[in-house]
């Protein structure tokens, strides 16, 4: 189990972005982490995979644990070694490299299993196999997303952290990516799925967490979240009747910072 416990993250020593946030990803499950722009979703993933340093961020409180063992003081390389791999927002493929080279870089910590993992990735994403000698920068957006996910799988992770994989993709491609996530999970990888596309995420997740300004504000099984009126209103874009004001939402507590 991957656990985040009471996590507090500060950027540049002063900007408090995560304020005591906790959740967990049980083995074999898909867990969705939803929230609006700037809620701190990417920051959570950085804290887990050890990439806060690059952004002058620090964990000031709390822990990240794998099977009860803290990993938040480890370096990114050791975290990948422990089976936690992040697929970053915006794909971030190596544009000048070939598809094959991108995947090989992903295998850095697991080079002895290169061929096995390469076969697995090419089976999951046949289109990448067709394009394996192409320069990655010329792939379409959907193909680049697949490449980013494939590269993440090359380290054979127990937990795959996906940051907005549907970002900027046409509906049909979002469907395809969704099905691929389900398949990856079926093959035994647990998934933490960060999304703005709540419909997509909740349709495949077991459990969902909703975060706002650095805190978890709601936490329910995905099917319950789908039915929740406020979630429907603010994240699924389905609401009946007139426009409700944020103030009318009772149990959806927005923290008034200027009071505390």
């Amino acid at each position: 189990m991957l656990e985040v416990a009471n996590l507090e993250v500060v950027y540049h020593d002063v900007i408090l972005v995560l304020r005591g946030l906790s959740f967990s990803v049980p083995d074999g499950k898909i867990v969705a982490l939803l929230g609006a722009n700037g809620a701190g979703k990417t920051t959570v993933l950085r804290a887990i995979s050890g990439l806060l340093d690059v952004h002058e961020g620090d964990i000031t409180k709390g822990e990240v644990r794998v099977d009860g063992e803290p990993i938040h003081k480890l370096r990114p390389a050791s975290i990948v070694d422990r089976g936690v791999t992040q697929v970053m927002e915006g794909r971030r493929i190596f544009a000048q490299f070939t598809v094959d080279e991108n995947l090989r870089v992903g295998a850095h910590t697991h080079f002895s299993d290169l061929e096995k993992n390469l076969d697995r990735v090419y089976e999951l994403f046949p289109i990448l196999k067709e394009r394996r000698k192409r320069t990655a920068g010329y792939l379409s957006g959907g193909e680049q997303q697949m490449l980013a996910m494939g590269r993440g799988l090359m380290s054979n992770p127990r937990y795959l952290l996906l940051d907005e994989p549907s970002l900027g993709l046409a509906p049909l491609l979002v469907q395809q990516i969704r099905d691929l996530i389900v398949e990856i999970n079926r093959q035994g990888t647990s998934i933490l799925l960060v999304e703005q596309n709540a419909t997509m995420a909740l349709s495949i997740a077991e459990h969902g967490y909703i975060m706002e300004t650095g805190k978890i504000v709601m936490d329910k099984p995905a099917t319950d979240l789908m039915k929740d009126e406020d979630v429907q209103e603010f994240y699924l874009g389905l609401h009946a009747g007139g426009r409700k004001s944020f103030r009318d939402v009772k149990h959806y507590k927005r923290r008034k910072r200027w009071l505390s």
Binding site: L51, A77, V80, F94, A95, V105
Partner: protein
């Protein structure tokens, strides 16, 4: 024709030295976006170490060469860990100045050790030559050209096919993504300096194996590698090779023909030509012949 071929051999020899130096600059620049001005001093240190091991300790040239390359790699690695690594993320300009300081810190004691005498590196090539159809080819020239070709080929294979070579390229392309793949970026930085140090020692040894031997001014050779990398493009391995060839050949042809055709430029104009080429290339292509237009900083 003979004269032309003669000049070409001389140009390729010079290019071999510039290439070994330029590759070091580029490997460092690519991995951590640091332009090191300490490289000339590192080269001088390497040449001195080889000379010391070969002549003073009488270890024989090949052992001395290996020892000198290792010692220089270690020096370069220490410089990176102690002086450069803590500065990662600071302005490029500040780091460049720091490397200038490093250059002086390394060069001053080495200059004292070299003194005013001409030292030998104890190389086996001496002044031996072959006469191929009237073209005099020094044994030394062949050794340099063959070595540079081998090193260039090995680097090509290293970057293209090996796990660590790929990791180095990945680090150059996007440090954060490289970290996310489990690459220890710090180790990549160290490796870049280690490789550059070893190649600089090799270059310094070659540069000191000609008539003029190893003196304090052998240092000047390394300064001419700088035009070579700027001509080729700071971040391109292939560019470093081409840049070295352009500068080396231009220098040799100028040395051969300028006296006949442009004597008014004065003696030793060939020493200026690398900078002239540099200026011309930069006017036409500000990023060098093979440089990436936008060299992004992470």
């Amino acid at each position: 024709m003979t004269q032309f071929l003669q000049a070409t051999v001389a140009g390729l020899s010079l290019a071999s030295i510039y290439m070994l130096l330029a590759l070091g600059f580029v490997v460092i620049y690519k991995s951590m976006q640091v332009l090191t001005f300490a490289h000339p001093a590192v080269m001088l240190f390497g040449a001195y170490m080889v000379s010391y091991l070969a002549i003073d300790l009488e270890l024989g040239f090949w052992v001395a060469l290996a020892g000198g390359m290792i010692a220089t790699a270690v020096l370069s690695w220490i410089a990176e860990r102690v002086a450069i690594r803590p500065m990662v993320g600071k302005p490029l300009f500040a780091i460049a100045i720091l490397t200038l300081g490093l250059d002086i810190a390394i060069r001053t004691p080495i200059n004292n050790l070299i003194g005013v005498n001409i030292r030998s590196v104890g190389d086996p090539w001496g002044f031996g030559t072959w006469n191929v159809g009237g073209v005099i080819i020094q044994h030394r020239a062949v050794a340099m050209i063959v070595t540079a070709t081998i090193v260039g080929t090995l680097l090509f294979v290293f970057f293209r096919f090996t796990r660590v070579g790929l990791a180095m390229r990945a680090t150059a392309a996007d440090q954060e993504v490289a970290l996310a793949q489990g690459i220890s970026v710090g180790r990549i930085f160290s490796l870049a300096w280690i490789m550059a140090g070893a190649m600089a020692a090799l270059a310094g040894t070659f540069a000191s194996s000609d008539l003029s031997g190893l003196t304090q001014s052998t240092y000047l050779v390394a300064l001419k590698a700088l035009p070579a990398i700027v001509v080729g493009g700071l971040d391109s391995i292939g560019g470093a090779v081409v840049g070295a060839l352009v500068i080396g050949l231009a220098e040799a042809y100028t040395a051969t023909y300028q006296g006949q055709y442009a004597a008014f430029l004065g003696g030793n104009f060939s020493q200026v030509i690398p900078y002239v080429v540099l200026l011309v290339v930069l006017l036409i292509r500000p990023y060098g012949l093979f440089g990436t237009e936008e060299v992004e900083r992470v």
